[in-house]
């Protein structure tokens, strides 16, 4: 029983990072139809901001966490203004642009920070044991922190005027404009929102495992698979999809098939795209 609970705990902590990534992917896709594969690298940039700002100690981690969220949000808006805004009429070009961005960000990071793995000083350096389950405090911090971020996000999207407009633009941008919704600014805002989530994910991810400049590429494939499972454009679906993927991974690794994880991941992605392009839950209409 405690082995099972241990797996659940591990699943939840990696699901947290996947969810922070995938919700950003799904939000941006919902409003722009752009599949931004550079979103995984935004997360890595968040980790490196944390490394720069937070040498050691809990207070420094909090400062680094905030800095990562802000810096990545700013970066995301800059990318939207410079690049992605020009691809709104043909979202497939936005996808290609993001592939180019991956090359730039990953080789840039490894040029400036070397390609080796980096870790951050633990936030709370101890392990709590509850009912036979070993819970490193930092993993608890990640799970609780992610839950708090998503509570705030849900409140923003469901209860505020700006959040309502984001949902309206995702459903029908033209009519949202007729309501007086500043469509281009809303899209930039969603890039910022996705950037904040990626920044948080990067900081939390650094608490869980070492980070390399090339982590973003591996992560985005998972993040996109998660967004697909939940239905592209569906925020709650992405949160749920993250748990599904993390659980699947836990199972595959438990059966000693870890070298095959990414192959199975791509196969799953292809099958999902062919069979249920709108996801297992309801996503936005597959407009093509």
């Amino acid at each position: 029983m405690s082995i099972f609970l241990q797996q659940v705990f591990n699943t939840l902590s990696s699901a947290s990072v996947y969810a922070l990534l995938a919700v950003g992917v799904t939000l941006v896709f919902g409003l722009t139809r752009i599949v931004n594969f550079a979103h995984g690298d935004l997360l890595t940039v968040g980790s490196y901001v944390l490394f720069l700002v937070a040498p050691a100690g809990a207070i420094w981690f909090l400062a680094g966490f905030a800095a990562a969220m802000v810096a990545v949000a700013v970066l995301a808006v800059v990318l939207e203004r410079l690049l992605f805004r020009r691809t709104l009429v043909a979202p497939i070009r936005g996808f290609l642009v993001s592939l180019g961005l991956i090359q730039i960000i990953e080789s840039g990071l490894s040029y400036f920070f070397t390609a080796g793995p980096r870790t951050v000083h633990p936030f709370i350096d101890r392990v709590w044991t509850v009912g036979g389950v070993d819970m490193p405090a930092d993993r608890v911090v990640v799970i609780v922190g992610t839950a708090a971020v998503f509570l705030a996000l849900t409140f923003y999207l469901e209860r505020t005027k700006a959040g309502l407009m984001i949902r309206a633009v995702a459903i029908d941008a033209e009519t949202a404009g007729l309501m007086g919704g500043p469509v281009t600014r809303t899209i930039a805002g969603v890039f910022a929102l996705g950037g904040m989530l990626a920044g948080a994910g990067g900081a939390f991810g650094a608490l869980l495992a070492p980070v390399t400049p090339f982590l973003g590429y591996a992560l985005i494939l998972k993040g996109f698979a998660v967004a697909l499972i939940g239905g592209l454009g569906n925020v709650r679906g992405a949160m749920l999809g993250a748990v599904v993927l993390a659980a699947l991974e836990t199972v595959v690794i438990t059966f000693g098939l870890s070298t095959w994880v990414s192959f199975f991941g791509f196969t799953l992605m292809i099958v999902l795209l062919i069979v249920r392009p709108r996801g297992l839950l309801r996503g936005v209409e597959a407009e093509i």
Binding site: L164, M165, A168, G177
Partner: protein, 235 residues
Amino acid sequence: MPEVLLDIVDLSVNYGPVTALRGVSLQVAQGEAVFLAGPNGAGKTTLLRAISGLERVAGGSVRFAGATLHGRPSWDIAASGIAHVPQGRRCFGPLTVDENLRLGGYTRGSGVAEAIDAAYDLFPALKAKRRQRAEELSGGQQQMVAIARALVANPRLILLDEPSLGLAPILVEDVRVALHRILHEFSTSILLVEQNARLALSTGGRGYVLRSGRVVLEGPSTELEGRMKEAYLGG
């Protein structure tokens, strides 16, 4: 003659190489109801979309309450006091009726709750469904949502694109009553695109008949009634 609210002069719109509107001039005065008629493809919807900033204006000008509209994005135009009820209603299907109406009030700083109550007074049937998703409503009710959503913005001018399309005759009567009340109780001016000639003429104001992107007839509805038949069938 009351103050001219909407003043369109020599407006042209192109769809690629195709000219959709050429040299259209049209005025709507404060408190006036004006209807646009004409066969399918005449450019009526394009004209409303050009006013709202959804189509790129190739030539001419659109002025509203003295300010230039053409070339500005749709949300600026909405904020300047024009509400557009688009063709096909375009309710936000996955959102509730209440949320749809709150979006209507997006440009207002205050008084949204009161405006929503006033809209529910106009369409009491919607009040019972306020927590339902708009896509679950019937076509007629969705039309009510679209009109109510426009009214919550407290516009000075409301553009309506075929509000009776696909509605049962009894619901068309509801629309007629609603238009009457919008004009007289909300003192909002109306620019109405309508195929249903009886509904169009019942607003009692002036009308324009478009054909192939041009204005071919204009005048008070009483005069247009007879001549519209010729305009539809002729040449």
